[in-house]
């Protein structure tokens, strides 16, 4: 039974986190967006969604670039 529970935990954690840096980056993007929406003007709050989108898209590209560079280092 404990192996099933461990499997459930591993799977649930694995559902959300595959690459730690990507997960931390995503949470940081969400926190920045939330902070901007809460502390800025109404106009900033209304447009905070686009800020989040820009941050996450930049994060995806940066993370994949890093993964590619790491892979190239291992190959060469």
């Amino acid at each position: 039974m404990s192996s099933v529970l461990r499997g459930i935990w591993d799977n649930t954690y694995g559902l959300l986190v595959d690459d730690g840096q990507l997960a931390i980056g995503a949470i940081a993007s969400l926190a920045i967006t939330w902070f901007v929406a809460q502390s800025g003007t109404d106009q900033l709050r209304e447009n905070a969604g686009w800020l989040l989108l820009a941050l996450v898209v930049a994060l995806v590209i940066a993370n994949l670039y890093r993964a590619g560079r790491n892979a190239r280092r291992r190959v060469s």
Binding site: V4, G7, I8, N11, T12, L15, L16, V17, D18, D19, L22, A23, A26, I27, L30, T33, W34, A37, Q38, R45, E46, N47, A48, G49, W50, L52, L53, V56, V57, L59, V60, I61, N63, L64, Y65, A67, G68, R69, A71, R72, R74, V75, S76
Partner: protein
């Protein structure tokens, strides 16, 4: 909700759940073909029961108890984490940096493992039951997560997500039962790529709504957000091919 709108609302959950059902079916098939069908069917039924309890308790509690803004923020966060994980892996697989998910190879390995464990004809096959239970439960948790995530917006969305997931389960199971072999023809990586982008787009949209952001045209913004993720993934895939034109293939063989 009429049938057409229900079908549209259920599609994201259908596609996302189908990928998970394909993976669970591979293991259940391996158990059934090597050790007989009674044990994997019992294991699958028990896992389905466990999942129904999880969805009923968590899903209903989330939709009815948690305040809407908090719920959208929470679900948006989970969807974004979940979606980005799939999107990243799919792009790395397209670039050859991570090996493609091979249902045939997984099936062969599982069959060999199960045959090695042997089977006494007189006893109930607990090994087969547990292997099937574990596979269906673990993949099913992902399905439950998908249903809760897509259905978090309200009762109608939850119903559509449940319909989508059930339809995916029925179709995948029926196909596997008819073919009696793993569903290797399913373009899993393309599906995971599409679903990853879709979940990420929903995540951004709902988190934005949760913190009080205004989206022009409300849900009509989702295709624009989705397009941004698809464009970023395309750019990243091209970039990776530039970085590792031949090396990516070498790296894939080493995984």
């Amino acid at each position: 909700m009429d049938l057409v709108n229900l079908a549209i609302a259920a599609t994201p959950a259908f596609i996302a759940s189908a990928v998970e059902f394909v993976e669970a079916t591979t293991i259940v098939l391996a158990v059934g073909i090597t050790r007989g069908w009674r044990a994997p069917l019992v294991g699958s039924a028990l896992a389905a029961l466990t999942l129904a309890v999880i969805v009923a308790t968590l899903g209903v509690a989330l939709v009815t108890v948690v305040p809407e803004h908090l719920l959208l923020g929470l679900v948006g966060t989970l969807l974004l984490l979940f979606g980005l994980r799939w999107l990243r892996k799919a792009v790395l697989r397209f670039a050859g940096i991570v090996a493609l998910h091979d249902e045939d190879e997984i099936y062969r390995r599982e069959v060999a493992d199960l045959r090695a464990q042997g089977l006494k004809k007189t006893e109930f096959d607990w090994v087969g039951t547990i292997v099937a239970y574990k596979a269906v439960l673990l993949e099913g948790i992902e399905v439950a997560f998908i249903v809760i995530a897509f259905g978090a917006k309200g009762v109608a969305a939850m119903n559509a997500a449940i319909v989508g997931a059930i339809a995916a389960g029925v179709i995948v199971t029926a196909l596997a039962a008819a073919l009696r072999q793993p569903l290797t023809a399913v373009p899993e990586n393309w599906m995971k790529f599409g679903v990853g982008a879709m979940l990420s787009a929903f995540g951004v949209f709902w988190f934005g709504e949760g913190i009080g952001a205004e989206w022009p045209g409300d849900a009509a913004s989702i295709p624009i957000i989705l397009a941004a993720f698809l464009a970023a993934s395309w750019l990243a895939a091209r970039m990776l091919r530039g970085l590792l034109p031949e090396g990516a293939r070498v790296e894939a063989r080493n995984v």
